[in-house]
């Protein structure tokens, strides 16, 4: 007789109002395996995992852990059933030590003193068994992200988790940190733990999972043995049609220098130097990619160029003219378009209707109104044209922006900035939280900008994206440019540069 599978989901169904997030989901995960769950944003992966971890309760269906039917009412019962979760946004108290974070919720008594020595001993054991070394007395906010994630894993193991759910675990990691994580996961699997890996990165699925299940629009559409499938097949299953994974583009024909950054230094609000003496040029008809792990000064660099943050020293020239003192509106007028890194904080007002966001920042232009008054008819007509051209769904300019999916929200921003026909475009994280279909579309638009002889500056933490779009790549680490490479440079070379190892 074969042993019971670690997890069995039978007929799980969940709706939020009109949204049918999970439709009759069946899933079997073998004990001691790494099982990938892949799907576009909004495909229902997170909802399914939240049901498994007790954040929500399914409307229908059964969950069996180790062959036993369980009702997971809340996180407490999930933990008691041996399920641990590593969230995409770490659930850590940043000014607590590692030990305090691990103990939280499993203190072992009313007084802390009793639990502390036991917890220390247990952490030592886990470290030895799984190679999860973290100083128990280190404060979380002083640890690099990779180690913070290890604390999350330790938290789950400390609570006796046999099943570990990881939600988009590599989003914030360097390639080297991601590899380290994968090694840890393999050790955990070999020791008999079961791992559920949620991701939208096909490469990770191929690299580490034993089996993979694909979700699309709330349904579980397929389960494959990883060894017997291909990236192309998985992509097609995810999107429901064939997708071009490679970006087709011609030779670059760089013209004159349009944007020039010279010895730029930028400090953040706390006075910490985030961009340190950075210089580079972007020419017409080329895409310059800036690679780097999040938080190495790319955000501040973009903000300085876009006129949002004042540089401490150095020069920014557009077409040979210094622009460091100009505000974002003036920069827009001279032909600089900016697609910000975070559409929720900078790109959009989520409570506005779609048509309002589609002109935001350009609303003073005569075609959208006279004097203090807006010409709403013109704006809505303009919004409808953009919706048609960019295939924004649902095609309703009167819908609240918050109700669009991530990919469609991003398209609203992209349409607004590109349709203005700027001379140069600066983009941060063009496809963060965007589904594959929309990624393909947005990449196409960026290439078109280049082919129309615009200058494009692209910042992304997705190395694949940087490599497939850029004509030249510079890598930032700790605020400095550590080197320039061509897109043919190996992932390992770039990865080492991103980790500051070169």
């Amino acid at each position: 007789m074969t042993p019971h599978p670690a997890i069995e989901l039978a007929g799980i169904d969940k709706s939020f109002g009109a949204v049918h997030a999970n439709k009759n989901i069946n899933l079997t995960v073998a004990k001691g395996s790494i099982h990938g769950i892949i799907g576009e944003n909004g495909a229902g992966k997170s909802t399914l995992m939240s049901i498994l971890y007790g954040f929500y309760q399914a409307d229908r269906g059964e969950i069996r852990i180790d062959g036993k039917a369980v009702t997971i009412r809340d996180s407490q019962t999930a933990i008691a059933s041996g399920i641990g979760m590593v969230h995409q946004h770490f659930m850590l108290v940043e000014n607590f030590t590692v030990l305090e974070n691990v103990m939280l919720g499993a203190e072992g008594g009313q007084l802390l003193a009793k639990g502390v020595s036991g917890a220390r001993k247990e952490l030592k054991r886990l470290e030895a068994e799984y190679g999860l070394d973290v100083d128990p007395d280190a404060v979380i906010e002083e640890l690099p992200v990779g180690k913070q994630q290890r604390v999350e894993i330790l938290k789950a193991l400390y609570r006796g988790a046999e099943i570990l759910i990881l939600d988009e675990p590599t989003g914030v990691l360097t390639p080297a940190e991601a590899d380290h994580l994968f090694r840890i996961l393999k050790v955990l699997r070999d020791q008999g733990k079961t791992i559920l890996l949620i991701t939208h990165k096909l490469r990770e699925i191929m690299a580490i999972t034993d089996e993979v299940s694909v979700m699309r629009r709330g349904e579980m559409v397929a389960t494959r043995r990883t060894a017997e499938t291909t990236v192309e097949e998985l992509a097609e299953l995810m999107v429901g049609r064939r997708v071009l994974l490679r970006v087709e583009k011609g030779e670059a024909q760089p013209g004159k220098v349009l944007l020039s950054v010279k010895n730029l230094t930028v400090k953040d609000g706390r006075g910490v130097t985030m961009v340190d003496n950075v210089s580079f040029d972007v020419r017409e008809g080329e895409i310059l990619g800036i690679a780097g792990v999040a938080g190495n000064g790319q955000s501040e660099l973009l903000e300085a160029i876009a006129g949002i943050r004042k540089p401490t020293s150095g020069e920014i020239l557009i077409d040979g003219q210094p622009v460091a003192g100009l505000d974002p509106a003036q920069l827009r007028q001279i032909g600089l378009a900016h697609i910000p890194e975070d559409r929720h904080h900078m790109g959009l007002v989520l409570k506005f209707e779609e048509y309002e966001n589609s002109v935001l920042g350009y609303h003073r232009e005569p075609r959208y109104g006279r004097g203090a008054l807006l010409d709403l008819d013109a704006i809505r007509k303009d919004a409808e044209e953009k919706i048609a051209k960019y295939d924004i769904r649902p095609p309703n300019p009167r819908l609240k922006t918050a109700n669009f999916s991530g990919g469609n929200q991003q398209k609203i921003v992209v349409a607004r900035e590109i349709e203005r026909d700027p001379k140069m475009l600066i983009i941060g994280q063009p496809t963060r939280g965007v589904d594959i279909g929309a990624i393909e579309f947005i990449h196409r638009r960026i290439i078109e900008m280049r082919e129309a002889q615009k200058a494009v500056l692209l910042v992304s933490v997705e190395l694949d994206e940087i490599r497939s779009l850029s004509d030249r790549i510079i890598v930032m680490f700790a605020g400095k440019v550590v080197g320039e490479e061509t897109p043919d440079a190996g992932e390992q070379t770039l990865g080492l540069m991103m980790a500051g190892a070169v």
Binding site: S75, Q76, H89, M91, L92, V93, Q110, L111, L112
Partner: protein
């Protein structure tokens, strides 16, 4: 009066003026470390002062008065919790509303019940917490320096004063040495971490607010049945806000809270003493110059001149489970 006598007298009054601040600031500490801003400390103090005075008068027993003060302060805390935890309302608005309710209701009820122009009848004897003379005061009195300090600063205070100073290490111990304290500090920083650890954020925050109410009751009772002998209209006179300032000044830590309260109490005492007395070379300094000091100091601190005060990260934000 020689300078040493003046010093001892100011020190004695520093202690008396600091006690309501210490209780209130510690009350605020538990609430704010749990992520609930509490601008309603003032109202709790006032309502507790009134309830304590009423019950002490009716029963003739100061302890029953204290219990009444604690009770009403907890009720106020729970209303704040119902508005801001259960219904995820704005914590500042809820706190301000409670302050107004306390300011109005106490006077109206006092007038309706006792007809003395918004105050409660004077308390005497057992209905008040009276000064306790510590043993050995008579023997010690003649010892130079230590003697007067012992007799006039350390001895001669009421029981609540000693409880306030005991509450400081006790608060520290609860916050840093117990499971409740660990969870409470965590919920003020990252409630999602607490929630995913399988702990109820709502229940935890309510418990923190009960502690806040409990301590707030002592502050109110101190005003009306220990320091004074009756409830008087608006007798808290902004002490709740000063306590809040002390809490910020102390960066939300129990022992520094005590020192901040003593400092602000000292400024108050000096201000009172200086009233009507000219300062050599400057002339008479208006008492308001001293009264404003706690706020000025807190602003200076917030502006980053004395290190940086990081409030609990989740403070003021109602917890909503993310989808």
């Amino acid at each position: 009066m020689d300078y040493f006598d003046i010093f001892v007298s100011i020190l004695g009054s520093t202690i008396r003026l600091s006690i309501p601040l210490i209780f209130t600031a510690l009350a605020g500490l538990f609430s704010e470390r749990a992520g609930i801003f509490d601008i309603g400390l003032e109202g709790k103090m006032l309502a507790a002062a009134f309830a304590a005075a009423c019950l002490a008068y009716v029963s003739g027993n100061a302890w029953i008065g204290l219990l009444g003060g604690i009770g009403i302060s907890i009720v106020f805390s729970l209303i704040h919790g119902f508005a801001s935890i259960t219904n995820r309302g704005n914590q500042i608005v809820s706190g301000v509303a409670l302050n107004f309710i306390a300011a109005g209701l106490t006077v109206v009820l006092a007038q309706a019940w006792f007809n003395q122009g918004g105050r409660t009848p004077s308390l005497a004897g057992e209905a008040r917490f009276l000064p306790i003379i510590l043993p050995g005061v008579d023997v010690m009195r003649d010892v130079p320096i230590i003697g007067p300090l012992y007799a006039n600063v350390i001895s001669g205070n009421n029981i609540l004063t000693y409880l306030a100073f005991a509450a400081v290490p006790l608060s520290w111990w609860v916050l840093y040495r117990t499971r409740f304290g660990l969870r409470l500090r965590a919920v003020g920083e990252n409630p999602a971490a607490v929630d995913t650890a399988g702990i109820s954020v709502i229940w935890l925050r309510y418990r923190a607010l009960v502690v806040t109410g409990f301590l707030g009751g002592f502050a109110g009772a101190y005003l009306s049945i220990a320091q004074s002998a009756a409830f008087i209209n608006n007798m808290s006179a902004g002490k709740g806000y000063i306590a809040l300032a002390a809490l910020v000044f102390a960066k939300w830590k129990p022992v520094p809270v005590m020192f901040a309260c003593l400092l602000f109490g000292f400024l108050d005492a000096v201000g009172n003493f200086m009233q009507g007395k000219p300062v050599p070379g400057i002339g008479e300094v208006p008492v308001q110059a001293f009264q404003v000091m706690p706020y000025v100091l807190t602003c200076v601190l917030l502006a980053g001149f004395i290190g940086i005060a990081h409030p609990p990260k989740a403070g003021g934000v109602p917890y909503v489970k993310e989808r």
